[in-house]
């Protein structure tokens, strides 16, 4: 089976690592590409600069608290783009603020998940996300 391409947009290295570790625990083979700020994320998605030969990801995991260009702006850009908007974007953040949740869905986020505090919970969520997006859901062709 073809490995799944996931783009993680996260500035916190510990979180990146945690995500990577959690993905290791799930069964599906996957490729995790990470960018640590919004600007880099947009470059990656639009294949600009250093990311000219980047692949179009199957799923985007987006943290909201990003330096330079924030997560909401990234979401807005992606969902405003003719082709990119097909890519499912999961907002994965530690915030449970109502404002963030509402704004994300207003910008057509595909879902909003709060990061759990403990590892077990985190692994469970990542596993569920994988299962949902790659086993149940039919994704658009690339």
């Amino acid at each position: 089976m073809k490995p799944i391409d996931i783009l993680l947009i996260e500035d916190n290295a510990a979180d990146v690592r945690l995500t990577r570790e959690a993905l290791k625990e799930v069964k599906l083979s996957n490729t995790l590409n990470v960018v640590s700020d919004g600007e880099a994320a947009l470059d990656y998605l639009h294949k600009r600069g250093d990311h000219a030969d980047a692949k179009v990801p199957d799923l985007v995991l987006l943290d909201l608290n990003l330096p330079r260009v924030g997560g909401h702006e990234v979401l807005e850009d992606v969902k405003g783009h003719e082709k990119l908007r097909r890519i499912p974007v999961v907002v994965l953040t530690s915030s449970d603020a109502e404002g963030d949740i509402v704004r994300s869905y207003d910008n057509y986020a595909n879902c909003y998940v709060q990061k759990p505090v403990d590892m077990d919970g985190f692994i469970k969520i990542v596993s569920e996300l994988e299962g949902f997006w790659f086993s149940i859901v039919k994704l658009p062709p690339k």
Binding site: A14, D15, S94, V117, D118, M119, D120
Partner: protein, 818 residues
């Protein structure tokens, strides 16, 4: 005011008015009765007049007419018996008079009886009678004339016949004497003849015939003379018999006899030798012959007279018949007038009768109305109420003021009752006032003593008081009295400056003029308390805060005449007040900052905590088997610390969030909210085998989510802090005006009263974490929520009894529910 109402008012249904109405009614009834009586008497009089003026005269007239009619009959009867003209004239005149009178009477009757037929009959009869009488009159007059003419002729005839007889006698005597002369022998016999010519005529005649025979010539002459004389005497006899008969046949016989004798006389006379005698006798015979021819025919005339008498008799019969008819008609009139009179009398009687009944009825009605009026108005409305008022007045006069005076209507008596009521009130007041006066007199004596003491006390107090006293005895004058302390408070020695409003105003801070003036005006005009804080300039030039009070005294006319007041130095208090305000503001700000800090801190602390926690987990997952027992134990503590830290941060975050968002007050049905809470706590209740009893709860004003949290925390506590037995939590509420007090009761471990305040502080725990889980935030959160709802939460002291938490919330009003 009541008196003014009494005197000022003019009651619509006054007794006077009622009396006037009553008298007017009675007078009107009397007047009516009089009027009816007048009309009744009038009717009676009229009816009587009808009888007297009409019926009676009619009867009299009818009777008179009847009498006249009878008289007329008599007169007419008598008319024919009139044997001379004056008598006839008199009788005719009487008939005419009687006729006129009768005619008038008939006209009268005609008017009154209205029996036209009878009247016409009488009139016609009278006309007939009049004509008949006239005819009779004419006839009788004619008869008189005819009789006179006949009698004239008759008298002439008789005279002529007598004269003829005389002449024949004389001739006879002459013849006889011649014979005597011639015959002496006859002398003696002459004497016998002369002595008895009549009785012894035959003897004489026989002697004469004897002598004639003797003498030859002479005796035949004497014989013829004697026969002639006899015939003449017969004529006289017939003429005298004529007036004694009315039989025409007898008259005819008389006429035949008369004519026969006359012819015999004429023949005898013609043979008389004496020529002279013949001539004289021929004249007489001519007259008598005339009596037998044409108009001079005495017999015809007599027959004519008899015919006239027959006509007169026929007229008389007719008159008698007419008279009888008039009499009958007159009698009819009499009876008609009698009937008329009876009818008139009867009608008059009926009028009189009905008038009498009507009069009696009217008098009875007038009596009844008067009696009713008297009973209704005077007896019922006036006398009874007057008696009542009199009795009440006497009772009041006897000093009994606890009486009830009933009033009726709005008239003078009612006004009297009201007045009496006022007298009663006045009397009662007077009694009270008298008592009060006695009490007051005693009190006054006491207060005089008190006053002296008070005055003394005041002077002492004023001297020792910390407040300055001012007195403005006459508001019309700018002159005040300031106490020594007043001066001292402002840094002056007593009396250093004149005590006046002007000086006070000069010391008053310009910014405080307005508020001071407004307060004093409000006090004087609207009786608002005069209590103002203002700044006065100290002698040293600094302004200090004072509390100024004042009280206006008023005269009888409610006019303020005097004011007394105090000033108290509150400068220190004022300054500390300001400081407190400043502190409070600082505190508020710092609280807000603290909440903000708590939020940010708890939120931002989540991130590193998550790392610690997550990586501890990861180590545990991946490397647990590579650690020894110590390492695993240390790791376990680290994991536990991180998870507790997480709970603490969560609670802190919750707690800090409560103050951050504005509460949206809506009606919240606590029954519903409690049910939801019990659903949330289902697991805990089952675990603990607990019971939660909920009474009927009201609808309050609040935020549903926050109140849910409060109830959740409190019920959870009740279920959590249990002794050995299964927990039992009771929830109830009471409503007091606009507020609801909710109480949550449990019989768990209980709370020492000395901790009743501390339990609401954040992170304060009374129980060990080992025995009961929790961070000690629940009650703090509950308190903060309730206080943000302007309510109050507390632990009800029960002295070792059950644990009761109570909190208050606003009751939702009808207007809120809409």
């Amino acid at each position: 005011m009541a008196l003014a109402a009494l005197t000022g008012q003019n009651p619509s249904h006054s007794v006077g008015r009622q009396l006037r109405i009553a008298f007017l009614l009675i007078a009107a009834m009397s007047l009516m009765a009089s009027a009816v009586a007048f009309f009744s008497f009038n009717a009676i009089e009229k009816a009587q007049d009808e009888i007297v003026d009409k019926a009676l005269p009619t009867i009299v007239a009818a009777q008179k007419a009847s009498g006249d009619a009878r008289l007329l009959v008599t007169l007419i009867e008598e008319l024919v018996t009139s044997d001379n003209l004056p008598l006839l004239d008199l009788r005719i005149e009487n008939i005419q008079l009687n006729d006129a009178s009768l005619n008038d009477l008939i006209s009268l009757l005609e008017l009154d009886i209205e029996d036209a037929e009878n009247s016409t009959r009488i009139s016609n009869l009278l006309t007939d009678i009049r004509q008949s009488a006239q005819t009779t009159d004419t006839l009788i007059r004619d008869r008189f004339a005819q009789e006179r003419a006949r009698d004239d002729i008759l008298r002439l005839g008789i005279a002529t016949a007598s004269s003829l007889t005389d002449r024949l006698q004389v001739a006879l005597v002459q013849v006889s004497s011649t014979l005597a002369q011639q015959t002496e022998m006859l002398a003696t016999r002459n004497e016998n003849l002369l002595a008895e010519p009549d009785q012894d005529g035959a003897q004489t005649d026989a002697q004469i015939a004897e002598l004639l025979d003797l003498l030859q010539n002479e005796p035949a002459i004497i014989e013829r003379l004697i026969e002639t004389r006899f015939r003449a005497e017969r004529l006289t006899e017939i003429l005298n018999l004529i007036p004694t008969t009315v039989d025409p046949q007898e008259i005819d016989r008389f006429e035949a006899s008369f004519k026969l004798n006359l012819r015999s006389v004429v023949r005898l006379v013609s043979t008389m030798p004496d020529q002279e005698l013949r001539r004289a006798v021929a004249a007489d015979l001519g007259i008598m012959r005339d009596m037998t021819v044409d108009g001079q025919n005495i017999f015809n005339r007599t027959k004519l007279l008899t015919e006239t008498d027959g006509e007169i008799d026929a007229l008389r019969e007719q008159n008698l018949f007419l008279s009888a008819a008039v009499d009958v008609a007159a009698q009819t009139a009499v009876s008609a007038s009698n009937e008329n009179a009876i009818a008139v009398t009867k009608s008059a009687e009926s009028v009189i009768h009905s008038s009498r009944i009507f009069l009696v009825l009217i008098v009875l009605a007038a009596f009844a109305v008067s009696a009713f009026v008297i009973l209704q108005f005077i007896s019922k409305n006036i006398i009874r109420r007057l008696n009542y008022l009199t009795e009440r007045t006497l009772t009041l006069a006897a000093g009994n003021t606890d009486i009830i005076i009933e009033k009726q209507g709005d008239d003078e008596l009612s006004q009297m009752a009201k007045a009496l009521e006022i007298f009663k009130e006045n009397a009662r007041d007077l009694q009270h006032q008298t008592q009060e006066l006695q009490t007051r007199t005693k009190a006054l004596e006491q207060s005089n003593t008190d006053l002296r003491e008070a005055e003394q006390r005041f002077v002492l107090a004023a001297q020792g008081s910390s407040v300055g006293i001012w007195d403005w005895p006459n508001l019309d004058e700018d002159k005040e009295i300031w106490s020594d302390r007043f001066y001292e408070l402002l840094g002056y020695t007593p009396g250093e400056i004149p005590a006046s409003l002007e000086n006070f105003m000069a010391m008053l801070h310009p910014d405080d003029h307005e508020v001071t003036f407004a307060a004093s005006t409000a006090h004087v005009e609207h009786q608002k308390p005069f209590n103002v804080e203002y700044r006065l300039r100290h002698k040293n030039g600094d302004y200090r805060w004072f509390l100024g009070t004042g009280q206006a005294a008023k005269n009888e006319d409610e006019q303020s005449t005097r004011m007394v007041g105090t000033i108290m130095d509150i400068d220190d208090r004022k300054r500390s007040d300001e400081e407190i305000r400043r502190f409070a503001a600082d505190l508020e700000r710092s609280n807000a900052e603290l909440e903000q800090f708590a939020y940010i801190a708890s939120h931002d602390l989540q991130e590193p905590l998550r790392m610690v926690s997550s990586y501890c987990d990861l180590i545990d997952r991946r490397y647990a088997d590579k650690l020894d027992d110590d390492g695993r134990e240390f790791l376990a503590y680290a994991v536990d610390g991180a998870s507790r830290m997480k709970l603490l941060l969560n609670d802190l975050l919750q707690y800090s969030r409560i103050g951050r968002s504005k509460i949206d007050l809506r009606p919240v049905d606590l029954n519903e909210t409690t049910s939801q809470v019990l659903v949330d706590l289902k697991t805990l209740i089952e675990e603990q085998e607990g019971v939660v009893e909920v009474a009927d709860l009201p609808v309050v004003l609040g935020d549903q989510g926050l109140l849910h949290r409060v109830l959740l925390n409190l019920i959870q506590n009740g279920l959590k802090f249990v002794k050995d037995e299964p927990p039992r939590v009771e929830i109830s509420a009471t409503v007091d005006d606009d507020w609801v007090t909710v109480s949550v009761l449990d019989r768990g471990v209980g709370i020492d009263p000395k901790f009743s305040e501390r339990i609401f502080e954040v992170f304060q725990r009374l129980q060990s974490r080992r025995d009961f889980a929790g961070n000690g935030v629940g009650l703090s959160v509950a308190q903060k929520i309730i206080e943000n709802h302007d309510g109050h939460i507390w632990l009800e002291p029960t002295d070792g009894g059950p644990t009761i938490f109570k909190f208050t919330l606003k009751l939702a009003q009808e207007s809120d529910l809409a």
